[in-house]
């Protein structure tokens, strides 16, 4: 009986751990350059940053937006959770903003999260998104509304994401 209980508890813990790992893998992390003092940002502020309506970070350094290319799960997740736009709306939004003179260019588009990570690690002021599992110590993961990727209630999810 005690053996069975032990197996049950162990199984439950493993399942929970696996689920947590899966959750984290399916979360979209917001990362900034390690030197940036930004620790936490509200959902509303995040939208402004990624729509280039906030142009400098708390340290006074100009934000440089790093995005994954159109068609990647990360980009689709950002469109849905941050921009609330379709691909064409996104293109039009940044073209319009460029045309109005409020921004210089659309976010830099990278092939995948690894490239985003490298860019953010190397560029002061850079902010981008990638799979939470791809974040490492070269960049700083920013909390959204006080929550880190993998925590209950974290708002940015990659739908249909597979843990690598």
């Amino acid at each position: 009986m005690r053996e069975n209980m032990f197996i049950l508890v162990l199984g439950g813990a493993l399942a929970a751990g696996f689920a947590s790992a899966q959750d984290k893998a399916a979360d979209l992390a917001i990362v900034v350059n390690a030197a940036c003092s930004l620790e936490n940002v509200s959902s509303a502020e995040l939208v402004k940053i990624f729509k280039a309506q906030r142009t400098t970070n708390p340290d006074g350094v100009k934000y440089v937006l790093a995005a994954c290319q159109t068609g990647t799960p990360e980009h689709s997740a950002a469109l849905k959770a941050i921009y609330r736009m379709t691909d064409s709306d996104y293109e039009r939004y940044f073209l319009q903003a460029t045309f109005a003179g409020s921004i210089q260019a659309a976010p830099k588009a990278f092939l995948n999260g690894l490239s985003v990570r490298q860019f953010v690690a190397a560029a002061p002021g850079a902010i981008g998104y990638l799979r939470a599992s791809e974040a490492d110590k070269s960049v700083k993961v920013v909390r959204i509304d006080g929550k880190a990727p993998g925590e209950l209630g974290y708002p940015l999810k990659i739908r249909g994401a597979n843990a690598p």
Partner: protein, 445 residues
């Protein structure tokens, strides 16, 4: 990347994308091979020594391949990731180029009095009315921005368009140098659109970006019969005001105001010579509150002391103090577009009575996938005694009331091109009421 011309950032990365794709394909193949090799090793049954197979199995070849592949994968991963790091250092100048264009057709039932054929048509919106039905070239709009340093950039918009004499003209529509001290202090010097409200600040010459065909009538460009000084040559200080969730923004502008002249060859935008020493000023304040993304509302105040150019006319117009009070409330998100703007132009001639000229438009559009039906109502009225508007434009074509509804449908048949069909009903002082059909094919590249 060396300084060069590119179309947006996708293009900036275009050179590396193919290479990275190839690397990723190799990576996929190698990872699959690794999985196969590992499986082969794992599935290998225990073999016993025998006469035919006297020694233990030798996996060294497989392990060698495994090691080699893992090394290759590590290198590939580093190369892929390195693509990002390579872009981290900004290079100046970095040039972005976009183009816009449109081709149009228009037909209307307006009868232009004493105007035979296509001669002397009356400026109105995207083209002219009171003419034969016509296919016509819109504008080819060339748009360039260039970041010169982290806080310094330039913006240029140059448009090529055909006029009623069928000649193609070229205009530098916008050209300014911008320096960003911070989010709250951004200084532009050059030729820019006056912050007279939402539409004038948001839309310029690229018709593809605009839902409808043409601008609201009272916001037409000066050289297309417009009644407002929509462009200014001078200085503009603008930026965000720390205001929490209200997100206030401001603009303070100083420059040459518009010129009013009987000379049709004189550009109303005083981009070289100014007729007066006094300068026009404009102040705008607007909010984009957090609590309803897409909402923007605000107002502006414009003042200019106008000394009209009376040369060559007996219709002598005195100096006027012109004040323009504007207000707007718009809600614009990817699905809905609800634009409302109005202004009151007060012209006070020296020693005379003030004239009050109201103008507004309202526009509603809803996007259903690739289709966007829209409706707009335009209105403006210029006092018949306001001589500023009788000196300009074909014996004061703008005087009196002008209003009417427009209904249209926009079809975005591909990401960067659209067609629009629009019906206008035109009521204009001194002319017969008319219907007009417009068609526009517009694009960006």
């Amino acid at each position: 990347m060396a300084p060069g011309i590119s179309r947006g950032n996708d293009a900036t990365n275009q050179v590396s994308i193919d290479l990275v794709r190839r690397l990723m394909e190799r990576l996929d193949r190698d990872e699959q091979e690794l999985r196969d090799l590992r499986k082969q090793l794992a599935d290998r049954p225990p073999e016993r020594a025998s006469a035919a197979n006297p020694s233990p199995p030798d996996d060294s070849q497989l392990r060698q391949r495994l090691d080699s592949d893992e090394k290759a994968i590590t290198n590939l991963n580093a190369q892929v990731a390195g693509m990002g790091a390579g872009e981290a250092k900004a290079k100046y100048p970095s040039i972005q180029f976009h183009g816009f264009g449109d081709l149009d057709y228009a037909a209307d039932t307006r009868r232009a009095p004493n105007v035979p054929g296509n001669v002397g048509g009356i400026p109105y919106g995207a083209s002219y009315y009171g003419e034969k039905n016509t296919f016509y070239m819109g504008e080819l709009d060339l748009f360039i921005t260039s970041q010169l340093a982290e806080n310094t950039s330039i913006l240029n918009e140059t448009a090529l368009g055909a006029a009623s004499d069928n000649e193609t003209g070229i205009d530098i529509e916008r050209l300014y140098l911008e320096y960003r001290f911070n989010e709250s202090f951004i200084l532009d010097a050059g030729r820019f659109h006056t912050s007279l409200g939402y539409y004038n600040d948001t839309y310029h010459h690229g018709t593809w970006l605009q839902t409808a065909i043409g601008r609201p009538t009272f916001l037409q460009f000066e050289d297309a019969g417009g009644i407002l000084p929509v462009r200014m040559v001078g200085l503009s200080l603008h930026g965000a005001i720390p205001s929490g969730r209200l997100n206030l923004n401001y603009a303070a502008e100083l420059g040459n105001g518009a010129e009013y002249s009987a000379n049709p060859n004189l550009d109303q935008v005083q981009q070289d010579l100014s007729f007066t020493d006094s300068k026009a000023v404009n102040f705008a304040l607007f909010a984009k509150p957090d609590w309803l993304p897409g909402l923007q509302f605000g107002g502006n105040f414009y003042y200019d002391s106008i000394t009209p150019d009376n040369s060559g006319t007996t219709n002598v117009v005195p100096r006027n103090d012109q004040c323009i009070f504007g207000a707007h409330a718009v809600y614009n998100n990817p699905q809905w577009e609800f634009l409302n703007e109005g202004c009151l132009i007060v012209d006070k001639p020296v020693g005379g009575q003030a004239h009050y000229n109201p103008a507004f438009y309202t526009q509603l559009a809803r996007k259903f996938g690739v289709l966007t039906p829209y409706a707009r109502f335009n209105y403006y009225k210029i006092s018949l005694n306001d001589k500023l508007y009788t000196i300009d434009w074909v014996d004061g074509v703008n005087k009196g009331f002008h209003y009417g509804p427009s209904l249209g449908l926009r079809y975005d048949f591909t990401a960067y091109a659209a067609v629009k069909l629009q019906y206008d009903y035109l009521v204009d002082y001194g002319f017969n009421n008319a219907s007009r059909i417009n068609f526009q094919a517009c694009f960006t590249f």
